[in-house]
Subunit: 252 residues, 2 copies
DNA sequence: CGGGTTCTTGACTAGTTTCAAGCAAAGTGG
DNA sequence: CCACTTTGCTTGAAACTAGTCAAGAACCCG
């Protein structure tokens, strides 16, 4: 307990039956690694939508892996302006910064009901000294996160509103697909236009109008949060860049 | 040799006499670590300004630590639009992404004459398995890089042109100061307004005009690339946020 | 002392935000 | 079950911000 927000859920999902591990693009554990991760995971947490379970400016004793649901990382300016930095999907790790740096430099909020595996930072050293393979995986995850933000930075700095919007939706679709959340080029997206606006660095109104333009291109549909790609080639063309998918990846 | 661009320089700077190691904010090595890093470093490279020694889309056999000089990471769009992602100063590591992911997702170009320590990725596993402390340091560096880009993303998404410019100049000044490149609130910056524009996600003209406004505030001076903070409190106020400095940090 | 790069400026155009208002869907409580 | 509130989506107009074009000035290098 005393984990801050959220409801603890004990070891509801034992690592050996981890549903993520069955996904084909996730690298398997050796038996040794599995045994260690079982002891590394100290708890399982349930977070409700809208709840921030990591907060900018606080210290974090834990890092988390998303077991199910969507979350997003964000930063706020003093006057309330918000920038969403990235989204976290199942198998993504959040909170590493807080355990490595002095304190969190961003917050993380649940977008849907969220299940998290909880890992105490106190055992992180153990992981690094006994399981270099897992240490390497953590580095891999950190490098990938950086790479995602890099692309996003290019969008905000150098892409037009339309390109940027197309790129983001394609990006989120591809990641959701990798996480097994999409079928038939369609997915139920959990975010509002305000979330998109705060991700794209645009106003809500302009986001709405840009979205209309994108829908008019007949490359995608989006009604009632249900998103569908109807002409991927065209969407890629508007976004200006395709993105790789389903590369094998680690997770912890 | 066959390292791509740049001129190899052998082991011109032995690790035990590394000039960076003398900086007070950099964590010291144990003798074991030092001995290992000496074998980890395979070469030293000299790069001329304007040369890109890591290129988007290529595979990289090496990672690098900046020994002296400035570099910048950037991405280009097909039509030539460029976004500068971040700058690398002495003690910063670049190229980790290329060794962890399949290939480089960004390029890195020298801004000044640059000296680099070269580490082959083939020995990275050795580092992870034998020196968890150094593995942890690499993770730390990756997490810090991500954190810097996060702040930058907030600038591009949610700060006004003036705030953004003030924030970037303050940020670069603080980092340069940590690297020992500034004295008396002044520093010779190596970049042009075009570099700033490509970092801030603005046009050259608008960057120039915004810079003028910032200079008019009397918080900073900038003539002939010589930058000086004359009213830090005011600059911080315009930037909207101060930044921590001189925290102890690792490097390899 | 040229010739190139960088910096500066003004005028015009395009893109984006803000303001304001209306609508639709979902949730709440008597 | 129906007002009532809340949240999210949509739209138009006005104001502002930023980009583009163009040209000249300043600086830098050989």
């Amino acid at each position: 307990m005393a984990l801050g927000p959220g409801r603890t859920n004990g070891q509801a999902t034992p690592c050996e039956f981890c549903p993520l591990r069955r996904r084909p693009n996730l690298r398997p554990f050796t038996p040794d690694e599995l045994a260690f991760v079982k002891t590394f995971k100290s708890d399982e947490l349930r977070i409700e939508p809208g709840e921030s379970f990591l907060r900018e400016g606080t210290q974090s004793e834990y890092l988390y892996t998303v077991l199910s649901g969507w979350a997003f990382r964000y930063k706020m300016l003093d006057d309330g302006r918000r920038q969403i930095l990235n989204y976290a999907l199942p198998a993504d790790m959040v909170g590493l910064q807080g355990t490595v740096m002095r304190e969190m430099e961003h917050s993380v909020e649940a977008l849907t009901p969220l299940t998290l595996c909880v890992f105490p930072r106190s055992k992180l050293w153990d992981l690094y000294s006994r399981f270099p393979s897992l240490a390497f995986d953590i580095t891999w995850l950190a490098a990938r996160e950086e790479q995602l933000i890099d692309s996003h930075l290019v969008s905000l700095g150098r892409r037009t509103a339309l390109e940027r919007t197309a790129y983001l939706l394609l990006h989120l679709y591809v990641r959701a697909e990798e996480a097994g959340l999409a079928k038939n080029n369609a997915i139920q997206f959990p975010f509002t236009q305000q979330h998109l606006a705060d991700t794209l660095g645009m106003s809500l109104v302009h986001t709405n109008k840009t979205l209309k333009r994108l829908l008019a291109s007949q490359s995608v549909r989006w009604h009632n949060r249900m998103f569908e790609i109807i002409n991927r080639k065209l969407l890629v063309e508007i976004a200006g860049e395709d993105m790789a998918e389903n590369r094998p990846r680690p997770f912890i």
